[in-house]
Each structure stands twice: as C-alpha cells, then as structure tokens.
C-alpha cells in the first residue's frame, strides 16, 4: 500500500492505530521522491538521514505506548526562506548558497515540538520574488500536473512537493500570493493567515509589512491542524498578534447556511481565462446550492492594488536586502575596498529579478521620488484596505479566483516582468490589507490543470474561511485527485 498520497490526518490515525509505522511512511515518501523528484525538482536540500532518524524515534515512542501529537512522525517540507538551525537555508539565492542558520525560526520551534519528520527545504523564487519559481538561483521547479508548466510561486517547491506526493504537508510564505497562487496551480490547499497571526521571526524578510507564513496541505482538515501549530504571539516578532489562537479544527464543520459571500466585480476581469471564470463561478454556485447567499460587491481601488504592491514590496525589499553585503554571513566576492567588495558581492550573486526589484525599490525611495511613488503607494494602500472594511460590513467572506489563469508553460512570461506582475491581481490586495486568504482546488481546465478558488476573510477570520472551505471540500473530490506524473502514480 502506498502512503505518500494520503493527507496527514489520515496518516496520523493510521500511526495511532498501529496500522503503519513512521519509518514505513517516511520510506514510502522517500521512495516517491526517488521516483519523481528528478522530474519535479521541488527540493533544494533533502535531509533523508535525519528524516529516517526522526521517524525511528517516533516509532519507538509509539511502541512505548506514549501518545503522539498531530504532526508527529509525518513527513513534511519547509520553504527555503525559513531558518532551520543546522540545515542550509538559501532563499534560492547564490548569495546565501552555504548559509546555515545558527537558530530556528519561531515556526520551526513550534513545528519541531510536534516531532514531525522533516524531509528538506523547498525551492522558491529567489528571496520569494516571483510567481513561477523560475527565478530560483539554482533551477526551476516543475508542475507535477504537467512538468512543462510552472508550479507557481514563490512557494512553488512547497506546493509541487505536496501535489507530487513528495511531502505530506509543507510550509510556505506569502507576500503577494506566494502560498495561494502555487496552491492553485498545483491543486492543493494553501492558506495565508491574517498578518500577525504567525510569527515572522526567522523568516528571511522580503517585504516585512506584507510577509506571512502559512501551510500548504492536501486538504482543509490538515490546513486547520497546521494553523493550530504555527499560530500565536511571539515576543521575537513585535508585529505578531496577541489575540488568543482558537482551536481551528473546531471550524471543520460542514455548514454554510446563511453565509454571505461577496463577489467583487473587479476580480472577474477581462483577460481572465474563461475556463477559470467558469470553474470558479461553478464553485460559487455550489456554495449557493448549499445554502449560502451570494451578492455582488465592489472593491473600487482594485485597479490600483498592483501598482501599490509593486512599489511597496520592492521598497521594503531594497531595504531588507541591504544586509547582504558580504560581511557577516552569505557569500563574498572580493574587491579592492569595502564598497567595491559589497558592490561586487551583490552584483554577481543576486539574480536578475532581485536586482530589478532592488533598483525599483531604491528609485521609489530616493530623494525627489519618495512622495510621488512610495508615500503615494502607502496612501493608496489605505484606500485598498478601506474597500475591504466597507465590503465586510455586508458580507462574511469574499470569493474570487486565486489566479487569472491555470499554470502556464515554463518560460512563457519570463521576459515580460510586467505581464507576470499582472498575474497577482487577485492576491496582492489581500496582503496589502493584511487579511487571511485560502486557495482550495475547485476543478480542472480542459488541459487537466488545477484551478483554485480563493476565499478571503475578515482580519483574524480564519475560522470562517476554514468552515467555508471545509464545507465545499465535502461536496466534491477535487482535492483527492493527484498528479499522474507520466504514469508514475502508484
């Protein structure tokens, strides 16, 4: 019996009942890695030996009759911009190629308390800048549903691993859609929690006012469990929320009667793939048939959100990435003096997209342009946020496509950064407003590529999102379908 294709909650029950051991499970997922990783390339670092040692320890515990926690003994993967003590954390950048963090991110401390099996670190767009994982400084990741296509990004490795069965669960980060969009492209569940719900301590910063860590999972039940584990206040991140964390698994209730769903007309834009629109509208009809009420709403500043995001994120990135100067960590390229050494290090080791965003960011922050670009963007951000505040007076959740198209071919957009930025139209407003958003599988294109439904909630409204997502999931089986990977499915 193959195990790699099951969700964590099913495997947890099998571990508890003694039907399987963690070593069996881990070996099965490692075998799956041997079968398909050459085609998918989701991982930058694999920690096979450590994974098996962790699995053995869990089995010993189970054999001794001790109770186990939810993730205990279940193999997962971590995006390579989350610091893992003693395990290389590169952000898919040559500038951090050999960086081994001397400490754990707070999410890792929380996850490690569960005694999971950690399989390794997943590929991403360099410093999380991109939506296709093609901007990795090392190699692109391929979409398990069609290896000629991108997996989305920037958490493309995490999404592809869960979709390919080379991880049961994964952690990603989302600055402008980087969990939700790859979840949509790979047919898995991905949640960006409310800004502040999860500590960012030890997450290598891209745009600090937008970044948030979240789970990528096979189904909504696993998402709720992972969210329970990673959420909560952390004194190491002063932007983390001190609002108590509810038990998110209590939201796994199949009931959307009376739920009021808003459809923002600005998100069903011209240029959207007709199959995406049709599939997402069908999912929303399904909600209606289950007793939800659907109303049209307007988020009038949506057209300005992309511009706002692509000024604020690079401005914060330009500042955050100042630290890569060849002095205290990371790689160094020598120079005659200090400034030349720093300049050589950055010029040779940052990739094209990272340099482009640093240039944009510093331009927007520089004297003479600050008011026109950066300050203006921060003001429009207020208006984008107010749009949501007004909308949420009348509705409980907002639904929209996660991305305007299914996954596209590798290389299709790489020469046109602006076109690639427009892919983020449905996800970036959520980060600008700090709201929670989830992408769940809602069907397939005629090319059999997954399509995601995005559900957006009020601040700290994760429970409502999970209930809506869970109810929908119970009504269909899209989440149970797995990528075929050239017949390599068991």
């Amino acid at each position: 019996m193959r195990l790699y294709n099951k969700p964590a909650h099913v495997l947890h029950d099998m571990l508890v009942s003694g039907e399987i051991t963690s070593v069996q499970l881990t070996q099965d997922v490692l075998a799956r890695i041997d079968e398909v990783e050459g085609d998918v390339r989701a991982y930058l670092t694999l920690t096979r030996d450590e994974a098996l040692a962790q699995a053995k320890a869990v089995d010993a515990k189970i054999a001794a009759g001790e109770p186990i926690s939810f993730l205990e003994g279940i193999p997962g993967a971590i995006k390579d911009n989350i610091c893992t003590k003693g395990v290389k954390t590169t952000c898919a950048s040559k500038i951090l190629e050999h960086f081994v963090p001397p400490y754990d991110a707070t999410v890792m401390t929380k996850i490690n308390k569960e005694n999971p099996v950690i399989l390794g670190k997943t590929n991403m767009d360099e410093f999380a800048m991109g939506g296709s994982t093609e901007n990795s400084g090392f190699f692109p990741t391929h979409n398990p549903w069609n290896t000629e296509c991108v997996p989305g990004g920037s958490s493309g490795g995490s999404a592809a691993a869960v979709a390919a069965g080379t991880a049961i669960w994964a952690i990603g980060s989302d600055t402008g859609g980087s969990i939700r969009q790859p979840a949509s492209f790979c047919g898995v569940v991905g949640m960006k929690p409310t800004y502040g719900r999860v500590s960012r301590y030890g997450l290598v910063a891209y745009a600090s006012s937008l970044d948030q860590i979240g789970p990528l999972t096979r189904d909504v039940t696993d998402c709720a469990h992972l969210l329970n584990i990673i959420s909560g206040h952390d004194e190491m991140d002063s932007t983390s929320s001190d609002v108590p964390v509810p038990d998110y698994t209590k939201s796994l209730v199949s009931d959307v009667k009376g739920l009021k769903i808003g459809l923002p007309r600005e998100y069903f834009v011209k240029g959207m793939d007709p199959e995406v629109e049709k599939t997402v509208r069908a999912a929303i009809d399904q909600f209606r048939s289950m007793g939800a009420e659907v109303v049209d709403i307007s988020l009038p500043h949506t057209d300005y959100a992309i511009s706002t995001y692509y000024l604020i994120a690079p401005a914060e990135a330009a500042t955050n990435l100042e630290r890569y100067d060849g002095v205290s960590y990371g790689e160094r390229v020598d120079g005659e003096d200090l400034v030349e050494m720093m300049t050589n290090t950055r010029s040779e080791l940052f990739g094209e997209e990272v340099k482009r965003r640093i240039i944009i960011g510093n331009y927007a922050l520089s004297a003479g342009y600050y008011d026109a670009y950066y300050l203006k963007a921060m003001k429009v951000r207020t208006l984008v946020q107010q749009d949501f505040t007004v909308a949420f007076r009348d509705v409980d959740v907002i639904m929209a496509p996660t991305a305007p198209t299914p996954a596209y071919k590798i290389g299709a957009m790489i020469d046109d950064p602006l076109q690639m930025y427009l892919q983020d139209a449905c996800t970036v407003p959520v980060n600008l407003a700090g709201l929670p958003g989830i992408s769940i599988p809602c069907g397939f294109s005629s090319q059999n590529m997954p399509i995601g439904l995005q559900i957006i909630g009020k601040p700290l409204g994760e429970e409502t999102l999970l209930r809506a997502a869970y109810t929908y999931e119970q009504s269909q089986n899209f989440h149970q379908q797995m990528a075929n990977l050239g017949g390599k499915e068991a």
Binding site: P102, S209, A318, E322, S328, R332, V339, M341, R346, A433
Partner: protein, 96 residues
Amino acid sequence: MKVTKDDLDNVAVLSRLTIPSEEAPQYIEQLDKFLTYVDNLAQVDTEEVRPTTYALPIQNVFRDDVVKPSLDREAALSNAPLKEDGYFKVPKVLED
C-alpha cells in the same frame, strides 16, 4: 523616457549594484515601463488619506528589559565569509 542613464547610475550606486553598460538600456526600458504603469496612482485622490505602513493597528510594543541568553559569538560568526580573532573581517576601509 522618464528614466535617464544618470538616474539608473544614481540608483545603482544607492543599491550597491553595478549594472554593466550593455545591460543598462534594458534596465532603463523596464524601469521606464514600470513607472509608466504605476502612474495610474496619480489618478487617485489621496489628499485627505493617511498612509498605511502596517495593515493592522500595531503601536509601541513594549516588553520588559531583561537580559536573556542570545547567540554566542562563535555561532554568530559561523557564517562569516572571513573572520579573525572573534571579529568579522572586511577589506581595508581607511587609507594608511
């Protein structure tokens, strides 16, 4: 064109990046296209609008000033490209 070669050179220095001269025209063109695109923000009336830096209302987060364990020196230096006697080592900054 909004962006000149001087603008690019200036921002490259601020960014501690060298843009090779053969790549400069592409950078200028892309930055120019980008700035033209974001010009749509000029249409938005923000006269009475306050800027948002963080999406949630977070203000002055305080904690007690207590000494706690932190990374020891060896761990902090463990990723340094060059170190000597417990310090980060960099190329010469001042003239002799």
